[in-house]
């Protein structure tokens, strides 16, 4: 009996608009509406071009972090990588290294940190990403403190501050850079075999491995990319601050993870799209700006971020009726560490 299988993709207006990202668009618009009420001159082109300069530095981290969380992992060491690579750059520059080379060194050190994370995770599969990045979070920043103690290091060449403060053709450099990276990462995640494998691993690590996905290589690459983007963040952050010290970028991990989760990426892995976190970046960025308009202190943003993080996770669970990974009731078996190599492969 001849049976044919169709290749038409099921589609409906309803399913199209019921997506999480539309909710984010609504929130995005809402934030701007509120802001414009608080500040009469808000709705200008300048606002939209210049405000991002203040928050886009950490946005670079959102791109690889999305991949990390889709993989089913987490990385809380990103703030420390930013600090360490920034500190190394500053010290190297003041030791005589030309600034462009110092910047390159920054990226190299950051990538190396990411690679260390990846190597630890692939060599010791019994350990979860939580505990590995917890340890490296402490170690990387610790090294930064050893290098620079409690000093600040600044006085970079004048052109360096242009990176974070100037525009090119009317568009801020940081925005151009972010846009380029965003495009690259989005294509990587959604249009390449690499991205497909990431989704596979996040959905079912064992089946992916059995299907020939090189799981170790992918984890190494994603970790290194995370490090690299942390280096980029360090470049822009230091440029904007004009100086650096070992305690910079503290709390970045919370903000970045919050943005990714708010963007609809599930913490159990295998689901989510880049568009959501990208929207979330701008939502939280402009929200912060709005808070500043009414002189609400930065600490309140912390509360808001913490609440947003937890609420997003809750709402996502309800919305997409997540089944627990282990299927034994709705209590997650926190993979702070897997029980053995066979567990780690799940």
């Amino acid at each position: 009996m001849e049976r044919t299988i169709a290749i038409d993709r099921p589609w409906s207006w309803r399913s199209f608009f019921l997506q999480w990202e539309w909710l984010l668009v609504l929130i995005f618009v809402a934030v701007h509406v509120v802001n414009s009420v608080l500040s009469p001159d808000y709705l200008t082109v300048d606002t939209f071009l210049e405000t991002p300069m203040s928050f886009l530095d950490k946005a670079f981290l959102v791109l690889p972090m999305t991949m990390v969380i889709i993989l089913g992992n987490i990385d809380i060491s990103v703030g420390s990588i930013v600090a360490l690579s920034a500190v190394v750059m500053a010290v190297a520059f003041h030791a005589g290294l030309p600034m462009p080379l110092a910047m390159l060194l920054c990226l190299l050190v950051a990538s190396a940190c990411g690679l260390v994370n990846g190597l630890l995770m692939t060599s010791f599969k019994e350990l979860s990403s939580v505990i590995v990045t917890l340890a490296t979070m402490i170690i990387f920043r610790g090294i930064a403190y050893v290098i620079l103690e409690d000093q600040a290091s600044g006085q970079f060449p004048i052109w360096y501050s242009a990176l974070g403060w100037e525009s090119f053709g009317g568009v801020p450099i940081i925005l151009i850079a972010f846009a380029a990276c965003a495009v690259l990462f989005t294509l990587l995640l959604h249009k390449t075999s690499f991205g497909r494998r990431i989704y596979g691993m996040g959905n079912n690590l064992t089946a992916s491995r059995y299907s020939g996905v090189r799981t170790d290589s992918i984890i190494l690459i994603v970790s290194t990319l995370t490090g690299l983007m942390a280096g980029v963040t360090a470049l822009f952050l230091t440029s904007r601050m004009g100086s650096t010290r070992p305690n910079v970028a503290q709390g970045y991990e919370l903000e970045v993870i919050a943005m990714v989760v708010l963007g609809g990426v599930s913490t159990s892995g295998g689901k989510g799209r880049m568009a959501g976190p990208l929207l979330a970046v701008f939502i939280i960025g402009f929200l912060n700006y709005g808070l500043g308009l009414v002189n609400i202190p930065a600490q309140v943003l912390l509360i808001i971020l913490g609440l947003l993080l937890v609420l997003s996770v809750l709402v996502l669970k309800v919305r997409f009726r997540e089944r627990a990974v282990r299927g034994s009731g709705s209590l997650p078996v926190e993979k702070v560490a897997a029980r053995g190599p066979e567990d780690a492969a799940q």
Binding site: I76, L127, G142, Y145, Q299, P332, E334
Partner: protein, 327 residues
């Protein structure tokens, strides 16, 4: 015998030996180390760490983690300090109760999110860490509470002595003893181990897993609250950035004490040794002129080393079990 399983006792003896060696080494470098005065300071500082590591051990036993305790310490300390500065006559026990209550509420919130709503512990406690820290700032209005605003009774929570022993040390002792009793001699305590050892089997065996998980986070919060009051009394100040990053020291002490990050195993005796070891490091490193800026890196290294050692030991045990398995 080559490849034989390394037992728990071996690890504890190792820790003890390491502590003794370390003390000897430190004493050689600085003769002031093993003085009564310094040891008293050491134990007092370690007391808060000990109180909190008891809670963290229970959390980690269930395969969880709690990053919010530093913020809880700050909040509890701030709340109790503010109350004292407004009502000087308050009995110190009331202040303690206040702090414990605050901590319990935070812990219960963690427990609710993690046990009832199945939020990952890392996410729930990371979020709460920041919410609580922000709340501390808000209720203090950004201002500090300093020594002169605190009553002597309040400060005596940390500085006072009973039978010649400083209060914090006594409190830590009582807490540890209660903990040993709870975790090794009560049904609920043993169920905490079971939940972490095999969550699915726990469900099947009718153990109230969710309730136990909620319990451990609530207890952690309560202990953090207690620690917060002692902290504020000891340093005679309450700030909104109190105890930032302290959770990492607590985790370090717990992991160093042999509590497996995979859950289900660890002994209170090991915990005490791990806490003392970390306390010694914190106390002695400045004494031998190690820059305080090395402390964080050392702490991170300690966690990593302890965790990796655990993994390698487990692999060795598994290999041994396979070899002895007669086909």
């Amino acid at each position: 015998m080559r490849g034989a399983p390394l037992s728990e006792r071996f690890r504890e003896l190792g820790l003890l030996a390491f502590i003794v060696l370390l003390c000897a080494a430190f004493q050689v470098r600085n003769h002031n180390f093993l003085t009564l005065g310094n040891l008293g300071d050491l134990l007092t500082n370690t007391a808060i760490l000990s109180i909190l590591s008891v809670g963290m051990m229970m959390v980690i036993l269930t395969r969880g983690i709690d990053l919010s305790i530093g913020s809880t310490i700050a909040l509890a300390g701030m709340v109790s300090s503010l109350t004292v500065s407004a009502h000087r006559g308050i009995h110190p026990l009331v202040s303690i109760a206040e702090g414990v209550l605050v901590g319990t509420l935070v812990g219960a919130l963690n427990g609710l999110l993690i046990a009832r709503f199945a939020v990952l512990p890392i996410i729930a406690t990371l979020g709460l860490m920041n919410v609580v820290r922000g709340a501390t700032y808000l209720i203090s209005g950004g201002a500090w509470v300093s020594a002169y605003q605190m009553s002597d009774g309040f400060k005596a929570i940390a500085t006072g002595r009973f039978l010649g022993v400083r209060h914090p040390i006594l409190i830590a002792l009582v807490i540890n003893l209660a903990f040993v009793y709870f975790i090794e001699h009560t049904r609920t305590g043993r169920q905490i181990y079971a939940v972490g050892s095999n969550p699915e089997a726990a469900d099947v065996s009718g153990i109230p897993r969710r309730r136990i998980v909620a319990l451990v986070y609530t207890l952690m919060g309560a202990l953090a609250g207690l620690g917060g009051v002692i902290w504020a009394a000891k340093f005679a100040s309450a700030q909104s950035d109190t105890a930032v990053g302290f959770e990492l020291s607590v985790i370090a002490a717990t992991v160093l004490g042999g509590v497996s990050i995979a859950g289900g195993s660890g002994k209170p005796s090991g915990l005490v040794l791990g806490t003392i070891l970390l306390g010694i490091l914190n106390n002695a490193l400045p004494l031998i002129k190690v820059s305080p800026f090395w402390q964080q890196a050392i702490q991170g290294g300690v966690i990593l080393a302890a965790v990796l050692t655990n993994v390698l030991v487990k692999r060795n045990n598994q290999l041994f079990a396979l070899r002895t398995r007669a086909i």
